[in-house]
């Protein structure tokens, strides 16, 4: 794996953590709100957009992490 990607991984690890933490909070919030009365189609769409975009980001982080580990070995 190129060094610049590894460096950026290290630099952005704090940022990655924050993004994943936000994703977890949104997921938990949606799970609870799903059963409440305030849940609406509009809220559902908003949450879905946030979840899927952050989930794609999370997948990219994991894939880069795997490539990093395999590259090391």
């Amino acid at each position: 794996m190129p060094d610049n990607i590894i460096n950026s991984l290290t630099i952005f690890s704090e940022f990655n953590n924050i993004m994943i933490e936000i994703l977890i909070i949104i997921l938990f919030l949606k799970e609870i709100l799903l059963e409440s009365k305030i849940w609406s189609k509009r809220l559902n769409n908003l949450f879905n957009i946030a979840i899927w975009s952050l989930f794609v980001y999370f997948c990219i982080v994991i894939i880069l992490k795997i490539l990093h580990i395999i590259g090391k070995t």
């Binding site: 953590n17 997921l27 799970e31 799903l34 059963e35 979840i51 989930f55 994991i62 795997i66």
Partner: protein, 665 residues
């Protein structure tokens, strides 16, 4: 599981026995298929459950055929069993699916009293035997027979109770829990030290948390469980609040695991709507070998299994109060991720299985698409993200560890054709006795599954559970088959049983219902439960102190007082290095508080720092040059046995011998 039978590997093709035996089995199965084809032709109907039964027959044939390439005790028995059970279902399908309720079966009050008295006599006998056998490090055969009789009497009470009120159900639940706890306590308190290998380090972690009053381990301790500390905190809280010793607080984890089987009862009651089947599920899981094993060998996974059971209930039983169940399921998700790694991975697979089963169920059984899903995709994603986020924690990246292990397994261990056949060890055939209980549970499991898959009994929750255990079984058997062992598949059945034994209890009830009279039913229930529970509680997983079948090759994972004295003596006498086998090194290090090295005998696929195995001369030079004493256990698993690996009896002088352990110079 498959790997453990063949620690050394090998490049031999199977000897004549498996080939001949397998060919005979394949011929028999082909005859069965022809008969099935005739039956199906007559009935002229191919329902979904019958289709699954046919798949079962073919799967059995395939597994039997695998014996031509590689054979072990599971492959040689499971293939014919799956075929026979599926065939049995096809033949007796109409009778098995006939509606019957055991709650209508009557036996006189006098007979019920006799069964009840028998239960209490056996329970008292067990308590007395535990008391008298204390300190002897062995539980006699008679003890296991009495426990099995006691299990059978509970089975009879389950079958013949009228279930007029909840008090009757509560009484049976209490009896199951009491007997289960007695059995587990008899194994757990057989030695004053932890039972098993890993519990030693867990005991240290618990002591450290109590000592430091925070999640902190002593200097030099492995930091792995600092990221997964919930079991240790839970046990430490019992120590502080209940004023218990560390050993007793560890048993509270086993106690929690036993209590969590109540949730198996609740899941089963919810999906089958029958108290007798639900109680039977609870009875079967309490006396299943892996449940006993992890209630005795207390590790973080023991705690995680109980959380997994509760979580499965919160996921499947949320119709009445969905918000409360959601909150609880999220809380348990966090707990399981912070409690144990493999368990959270199993949870991810289970949630994926439940979610995908919902979609497949609607397509197979043509159910209305508007019906609400059991599980939202949000929960599946939440479990994946939370688990992996915790695994990539920079302070201790478990993700790096498993990826390295997986990379190593895939690139080095893919030796499917190079496995050693079962018949290399003369006593391997006897090991089949070790899995008789497992096979009986499987017979009922397959028949119960096929019954539930029929249109008459199917619903989305049943189908979800079916998907969960099928997926986990695939991982359990499939991964080791291809040489991948870093997901520790031998631990998975404890999780599989949570869902699978519900189906097994359905199968058990259906088979019992085939008998015509009450006396026949009573004899069948008593006999089947006696045999299955006896083989379950005496096999090498549930019973590591008093081996019954494997003689010399069996091993015991606990330390005796004599061995402890041996360690203390050598600690006082020897100033130089003390070296041992890998099993004893950590234990001696904890007892003597000195650095103890070990001589490796096997490379662990999880280890990122791969150790090299020495040859005989190198080992001898190492011992001579360093002037060290080597302590060897005689009854350890083959992979730790230094004496056999390096031939110590011929090469070195034995200076201490306490029967179960020796010291060489």
């Amino acid at each position: 599981m498959i790997l453990s039978d063949n620690e050394e590997g090998g490049n031999l093709l199977p000897t004549s026995f498996p080939i001949r035996g397998t060919l005979i089995l394949i011929t028999l199965i082909l005859i069965l298929i022809i008969v099935i084809a005739q039956i199906l032709n007559k009935k002229n109907l191919l329902s979904i459950d019958r289709l699954f039964a046919l798949v079962g027959v073919l799967l059995g044939l395939f597994i039997t055929g695998l014996n031509l390439l590689y054979s072990n005790k599971y492959l040689i028995t499971l293939g014919p069993l799956i075929t026979a059970a599926s065939f049995f279902y096809i033949v007796f399908q109409d009778k098995l699916l006939k509606e019957n309720t055991s709650t209508g079966i009557h036996i006189s009050a006098r007979h019920q009293k006799i069964i009840n008295i028998l239960y209490w006599i056996c329970t008292l006998a067990i308590i007395i035997m535990i008391y008298w056998q204390q300190g002897l490090y062995i539980r006699p055969l008679f003890f296991f027979i009495i426990v099995s009789i006691d299990v059978s009497t509970i089975g009879l009470q389950i079958t013949f109770s009228k279930y007029k009120n909840n008090f009757e159900i509560s009484k049976i639940i209490f009896k199951i829990l009491l007997l289960s706890l007695l059995l587990k306590a008899s194994a757990f308190f057989i030695s004053p030290y932890p039972i098993g290998i890993d519990p030693w380090s867990h005991e240290q972690h618990i002591q450290d948390i109590i000592h430091y009053s925070q999640i902190q381990f002593r200097p030099g301790a492995d930091p792995y469980y600092l990221s997964y500390p919930l079991m240790h905190v839970f046990a430490a809280s019992f120590n502080i609040v209940g004023n218990l010793s560390t050993k007793e607080s560890m048993f509270m984890i086993g106690f929690t695991l036993t209590l969590s089987t109540i949730f198996v009862f609740l899941i089963s009651k919810k999906i089958t709507k029958r108290p007798d089947i639900a109680l039977l599920s609870m009875l079967l899981i309490n006396f299943a070998e892996f449940n006993i094993q992890w209630s005795v060998q207390i590790i973080a996974m023991s705690y995680a299994i109980s959380i997994y059971t509760i979580l499965l209930y919160t996921l499947l039983g949320k119709q009445k109060n969905p918000l409360i169940f959601k909150c609880f399921s999220l809380m348990y998700l966090v707990i399981i991720v912070w409690a144990h790694t493999a368990s959270s991975f199993i949870l991810i697979l289970s949630t994926i299985a439940i979610y995908s089963s919902d979609i497949i169920y609607r397509h197979i059984y043509l159910i209305d698409q508007k019906e609400k899903h059991i599980l939202s995709y949000t929960f599946v994603i939440a479990s994946i993200v939370l688990t992996f986020f915790h695994w990539i924690n920079p302070y201790y990246s478990f993700f790096d560890l498993i990826m390295n292990g997986l990379n190593y397994s895939v690139s080095n261990e893919l030796g499917f054709l190079n496995r050693e056949p079962i018949t290399d060890h003369a006593s391997e055939n006897i090991q089949i006795l070790d899995i008789v209980g497992f096979l009986i549970y499987n017979l009922f499991g397959i028949i119960g599954t096929l019954c539930i898959l029929s249109r008459k009994y199917i619903n989305n929750e049943n189908f979800a559970l079916f998907f969960v255990f099928t997926g986990l079984f695939f991982m359990f058997f499939g991964f080791p088959l291809f040489g991948i062992s870093n997901n520790e598949p031998y631990r998975w059945p404890a999780f599989i049983y949570v869902s699978y034994l519900i189906f097994a209890s359905v199968g058990f009830t259906k088979i019992i219902s085939l008998s015509s009279s009450n006396s026949q039913k009573a004899i069948l229930v008593f006999f089947i439960l006696f045999v299955s529970s006896f083989f379950m509680i005496t096999n090498s997983h549930a019973n590591i102190d008093s081996p019954k079948y494997r003689g010399e090759i069996d091993y015991k994972y606990f330390i005796k007082e004599s061995e402890l004295e041996l360690v203390k003596n050598i600690d006082e006498l020897l100033e130089g290095y003390l070296t041992s086998d890998a099993y004893m090194s950590e234990r001696i290090s904890q007892i003597t508080e000195r650095d103890v090295r070990y001589i490796p005998t096997k490379v662990h696929p999880m280890s990122s720092n791969q150790e090299t195995i020495m040859d005989q001369d190198q080992c001898l030079d190492y011992i001579r040059n360093n002037k060290i004493a080597v302590l060897c256990r005689l009854d350890v698993e083959r992979k730790y046995d230094l004496r056999k690996t390096y031939g110590f009896d011929q090469l070195l002088n034995c200076i201490y011998d306490v029967g179960t352990a020796k010291i060489y110079m």
